[in-house]
C-alpha cells in the first residue's frame, strides 16, 4: 500500500505539525521510535550520516542523547528529556541541538493512532518562540509551499 505523503503545517504562533502514516501496527512504530537498536536504523539524516550514539532512558524524567556523524567525522548532537510516556500512543519530550540552531529548547509531542492496521504518527513541535519557529521553518522544516515560499519558487523560475 502506498504511504501517505509527509505533511507539514503551522499552528498558532510557535507550533508545527508533521504527519505521516505507516503500514504497521502502532506498537511496532513505537518500538522503532524508542529502542536504540531500531532508532539507529532509520533516524539518520542526509546520505552519508551515521548515528554512532543513541542512548534512550525511556521513563518520565529519563534522558536521551543522539549523535550523528558524517563522512568527514563531523558530529551533530541532540539531547532531551522525556516528559510523558504512554506506550504505545504518546510521548512528550523536550529536545535541544548541541549547537542550538533552532534557537532554544523545543517540546515535541508524538502521537500514534492506529486504524485498519495503519498507524499515523503526528508530531507536534512547539518552539521556544515565534522567531525560533520561523528560523526552523525557513531552514527547511517545510516543503517550499508553506510560509509564502510559493512565490520563491516562481521567482526561481525567472532568475
Amino acid at each position: 500500500m502506498a504511504q501517505d505523503k509527509l505533511t507539514v503545517a503551522t499552528q498558532g504562533d510557535r507550533e508545527v505539525v508533521f504527519t505521516r502514516a505507516f503500514a504497521a501496527p502502532r506498537d511496532l512504530v513505537f518500538d522503532c521510535m524508542t529502542k536504540p537498536d531500531l532508532v539507529k536504523r532509520w533516524l539518520l539524516g542526509p546520505p552519508g550520516w551515521t548515528m554512532p550514539v543513541c542512548e534512550i532512558d525511556l521513563r518520565v524524567g529519563g534522558k536521551f542523547r543522539y549523535v550523528w556523524r558524517n563522512q568527514d567525522g563531523r558530529d551533530m548532537g541532540m539531547a532531551g528529556v522525556y516528559r510523558e510516556i504512554a506506550a504505545p500512543e504518546r510521548i512528550v519530550h523536550n529536545e535541544v541541538f548541541d549547537d542550538d540552531w533552532t534557537g532554544g529548547e523545543t517540546t515535541v509531542t508524538s502521537t500514534l493512532t492506529e486504524a485498519g492496521g495503519r498507524t499515523t504518527l503526528t508530531t507536534l513541535v512547539i518552539y521556544a518562540n515565534e522567531a525560533a519557529r520561523k528560523g526552523a521553518l525557513v531552514s527547511g522544516m517545510t516543503d517550499g509551499m508553506e510560509m509564502g515560499y510559493a512565490r520563491l519558487d516562481a521567482l526561481l523560475e525567472t532568475v
Partner: protein
C-alpha cells in the same frame, strides 16, 4: 549536501515576509528604492533597511547609477537556499522511508 555558513544569512533574510515580497517584485525586473517602497505601507528608509539585509545575504545587488542605484535580484544564493530546503525535506522523507522498510522487516520477522 553540505551546509554552507552563508546560507544562515540567506535564510535569515528570507524569514521576513516584506523581504520575500521585495524579492518577488524584483523577479519582474530591477527597481529603485522608491519604486520598491511604493506598493508597501513603508517609508523608503524602512525599505532601505530591508534591502541592506538582502544585500548582505547576497540576495540583491545595487547598480552603479548614482542617481537611481537600481536593485537587482541575484540568483545563486536563492538557488542554494531552495536546494537546501528541498534537501532537508527529502532527508525527513528518506528517514520515514527507511522506517517503512524497517517496519516491513519487523512485521515479517514477527509474523504480523
Amino acid at each position: 549536501m553540505s551546509y554552507r555558513p552563508g546560507l544562515d544569512a540567506t535564510f535569515a533574510a528570507l524569514a521576513d515576509p516584506t523581504r520575500r515580497a521585495i524579492l518577488a517584485r524584483l523577479a519582474t525586473g530591477e527597481a529603485s528604492v522608491g519604486e520598491l517602497a511604493a506598493p508597501f505601507a513603508m517609508s523608503q528608509p524602512a525599505i532601505s533597511k530591508h534591502l541592506k539585509v538582502l544585500e548582505k545575504a547576497g540576495l540583491v545587488s545595487r547598480g552603479r547609477d548614482a542617481q537611481r542605484r537600481p536593485v537587482r535580484v541575484r540568483a545563486q544564493p536563492l538557488a542554494e537556499a531552495n536546494a537546501w530546503l528541498e534537501a532537508y525535506r527529502q532527508t525527513l522523507e528518506a528517514n520515514f522511508q527507511r522506517l517503512d522498510a524497517l517496519l516491513d522487516e519487523l512485521k515479517t520477522t514477527q509474523g504480523r
